[in-house]
Amino acid sequence: MITAKNSLTETHQASEAFNVSWQASLEKLISRGLSSGADFVEIFLENTENIGLLAEQDTITNVNPSFSKGAGIRVFLNNRDGFVSTNDLSEKGLEEALDQALGMLGLEINKLSQSQFNGLNELHDYGNKKQNWLDNCPTLNESSQKLLFGTDKLAYHGKNLIVRRGSYSRSWQEVLIASSDGTFAKDIRLHQSIGLNVLASDKDHRASIGRRYGNSAIPKDLMNLNLDEAANDLCDSAQKMLYAEYVDAGQMPVVLANKFGGVIFHESCGHLLETTQIERGTTPFAEKINHQIAHKSVTAIDEGNTSGAFGSMSIDDEGMEPQKTLLIENGVLKSFISDRAGELRTGHKRTGSGRRQNYAFAPASRMRNTYISEGKYTPNELIESIDEGLYCKSMGGGSVGPTGQFNFSVEEGYLIKNGKLTLPVKGATLIGEAKQILPRISMCANDLDLAAGFCGSISGNIYVTVGQPHIKVDSITIGGR
């Protein structure tokens, strides 16, 4: 290898691994911030190594490694905050970023004043036992072979498939968090996911459908995923949806399947229980703690502790261990999801939910693993209770607007007639408003299951889990043709 003397920009060489050797320089920065008049200073350092693979038909067509290092510095004065991110992890670069954040709050650098900062606590190294995670992940060759096995199984199980795709992504992240309350913590996170997608086509009929599986913290786990079974399930769905008719629009009862069906609760209600929504004045639930906001059959949880789940973590991006947060109990609102800024501005205690996509985003109150608890019915009992309705086996994406209205596309749906599943239908969209729909979730089945997903919001795209048992909504608007 060659060595060149010049750096390529004015940026400086970043320091090596995040460890206790950073303590002195971070303490110096925090002291500088506090002595300038800040109430609180937080420094988030991040180092990532990611890779993405794509297999199309029987060939690996894209391999994308990427590396990133950066810092996010946040300063509070009263309940205001200034946030600066930079790629420059040199002492000078971090100092400039801090000074800029202080300047945002109108604070002048005061080198003479002594801060009241007592120094950082001893480093709490949550990543200590995770050092080998990156090395233990599947090699490029192993993950490529796994994907090609998946696309081969799609060919084996599928009919009329004109596109077969498999994708794999691995995100390895090392973080070091230091703040003026003494927090000094390091963690290593690992997220991996595998997706399978097909496009089936026959004359004028087309159907595209996909599945994604993901986990955190277990380097080799996805290699054990049964892609034969997954491919079979996906091809079965694609074949049914290929010839499906468009659903008629209207108002009707629906049964939402478990796992990714939980996206409807995540979007329609979960976001409204983040303290950022209280701050914006965009949640109808701001003053509803201990009020009935949902049917009594609904109990909902948000937590970051389930082993291996996509939304789990040892600490959040503010250095706090995640809590298990009871959001709704038997229909009664119990808690909000809160971060440091949320606690400061709304009074709701932090729940270990301060999350961000990376160093370039300030943390915000965000969901982790969010699900509706299971009930006492079997899934069949839910379907049998409906004369005419819709069964949503697989959900696509969705969103919630600034006035609380949500919409979700149904990827795979079936009509319910006289308590039985009948014809497959496509083109359905579920439309509603959380305040109206939550009281209509009248039955929850006994088959709670979770699914990995990605959530995009104020602090970027983060890993989450959604989940629920089969649930019945007594009436909802279906957009169709």
């Binding site: 010049n6 991110s85 709050l105 490029l140 969103s399 957009g479």
Partner: protein, 461 residues
């Protein structure tokens, strides 16, 4: 702090990059390399009832490096570590990735990577700084709140300014560079009236710098849009005549741009195929261009990710598909020149820049009398489409999307409480019954109002 360094941006030194990469390529069996790099400095503010809500600053640099190994296979890597050590790591990772390069689809340098570039107006306007941004946004929020008593908050707002540099280099001597500045403002108001549901709408403006931003018109538009939704009612489910406002029609076309995307055609996920070129895909009164270099396109760049000059490209001419959007690799497969729509990667992505919808003035539309300002019979005026990521199936052609809009009857506009519009893009393009003559420039392209017959609307009961 704020004033002294406002206009400084860390810049990429192309010559140093070239030297180091040329040296690195001799240490590994690399035949050639290219890279895209970018550096930016950003300021942004948000406010809440006069108080600073979030103040952000960012300084970022990144590169995407692409190498060809001895076998001619390609590997890529992206990194934010623009120092020598970071580059060595990236170079090695790209080389490792090249061992998995796809031998059936190997990208090459663009034959136009050294061609003359179009001259664009790309000023670097001075930063205002966070204090000034805050002052401007506070004032804008205040003005918007004063527009109507029902407007209680402006929950989504932001004012941002950025200076950025883009670079493309390759080992055969191509050296492209562009520096520019950009500013944006968005204001989304929320209106509430006693006994009614909250209503929300807003507006966005882009410019080369804060001083060029049309903030007053953004306030006026956000207010008038929000107020226009205060009187609302549900709509009956059924089929209606629809008039898409320019923003909405451009959003719909953008969501189905894989129809015009050569990469999607080759991957089999487009509604078009190679034989679709030259065939009729819409009514003959419609013409569509992708004009990356249009003066109103604030985000324009003179070259794409592979260094190919960007241009004004006709996609649909009088109803017939004229051209696909290409990267180097797709253009080679189609036997044409690349046309400036590439990203950078081992599998190069292709995308639209700035769509311009035009009416073919030589032909009469089916319903010449249709005009959104004067038409008397009932129709639905769609202002904006929501949740496109969830409600559009580009490879199937279908869509089912929530929208903001009005039922218009004899000039009276009643906002629609909550509804979705559903259809098929091929049917939309072939059921256009009128394209109005007046084009409007939006922040995402240019289009007149476009009328489509018989789309499904689902109302909420």
């Amino acid at each position: 702090m704020e004033s002294s360094k406002l206009n400084s941006i860390r810049s990429i030194n192309s010559n140093e990059l070239i030297d180091i990469l040329n040296k690195l390529s001799k240490t590994e069996p690399i035949k050639k390399w290219d890279l895209g790099a970018s550096c930016s400095k950003d300021h942004s503010v948000q406010v809440d009832k006069g108080e600073a809500k979030q103040l952000k600053g960012a300084q970022r640099c990144s590169i995407t490096l692409r190498v060809w190994n001895k076998e001619g296979l390609v590997g890529t890597t992206s990194t934010t570590e623009l120092n020598e050590k970071g580059l060595i790591k990236a170079f090695n990772a790209a080389y490792q990735a090249s061992k998995y390069g796809n031998p059936d689809d190997v990208p090459d340098f663009s034959p136009l990577a050294k061609a003359k570039l179009p001259k664009l107006h790309k000023p670097v306007l001075p930063f205002k700084g966070l204090k000034e941004l805050l002052k401007i946004l506070r004032s804008a929020e205040n003005d918007l709140l004063k527009q109507h008593p029902s407007i209680k908050t402006v929950p989504y707002n932001g004012l941002a300014e950025t200076i950025f540099q883009r670079v493309y280099l390759n080992s055969e001597g191509a050296q492209r560079e562009m520096k520019s500045s950009q500013a944006s403002v968005y204001l989304y108001a929320r209106a509430e009236e006693e006994g009614k549901k909250p209503r929300s709408s807003g507006a966005v403006r882009l410019a080369h710098g804060v001083e060029e931003l049309e903030i007053s018109s953004c306030i006026q538009e956000a207010a008038s849009r929000t107020i226009s939704h205060l009187i609302y009612q549900p709509i009956e489910t059924g089929r209606y005549t629809i008039c898409f406002k320019p923003d909405a029609f451009l959003e719909l076309l953008g969501a189905f741009s894989s129809m015009f995307n050569a990469r999607s055609v080759l991957d089999g996920i487009s509604l078009s195929n190679i034989n679709t070129l030259g065939t009729k895909i819409s009514v003959p009164i419609l013409s569509l261009y992708d004009n990356a270099i249009h003066p109103s396109n604030v985000s324009s760049c003179a070259f794409d990710g592979e260094g190919t000059p960007t241009r004004d490209l006709c996609i649909i001419k009088e109803g017939k598909l004229e051209n696909f959007l290409h990267s180097e690799a797709t253009a080679r497969r189609f036997g044409v020149n690349p046309n400036g729509h590439a990203g950078l990667g081992s599998k190069v992505s292709v995308g639209v820049d700035w769509l311009v919808v035009k009416k073919n003035l030589n032909m009469q539309s089916e319903n010449q009398q249709l005009n959104h300002k004067s038409y008397k019979d009932p129709f639905i005026l769609i202002e904006g489409l929501n949740a496109l990521h969830a409600g559009v199936k580009p490879s199937q052609g279908s869509f089912s999307l929530p929208f903001d809009g009005w039922l218009v009857n004899r000039g009276e506009k009643i906002s629609i409480e909550a509804a979705t519009v559903a259809g098929d893009i091929k049917e939309v393009l072939n059921n256009i019954i009128q394209i109005e003559e007046q084009q409007e420039t939006t922040h995402q392209g240019i289009s007149p109002h476009v009328w489509v017959d018989g789309l499904s609307i689902t109302g909420e009961e």
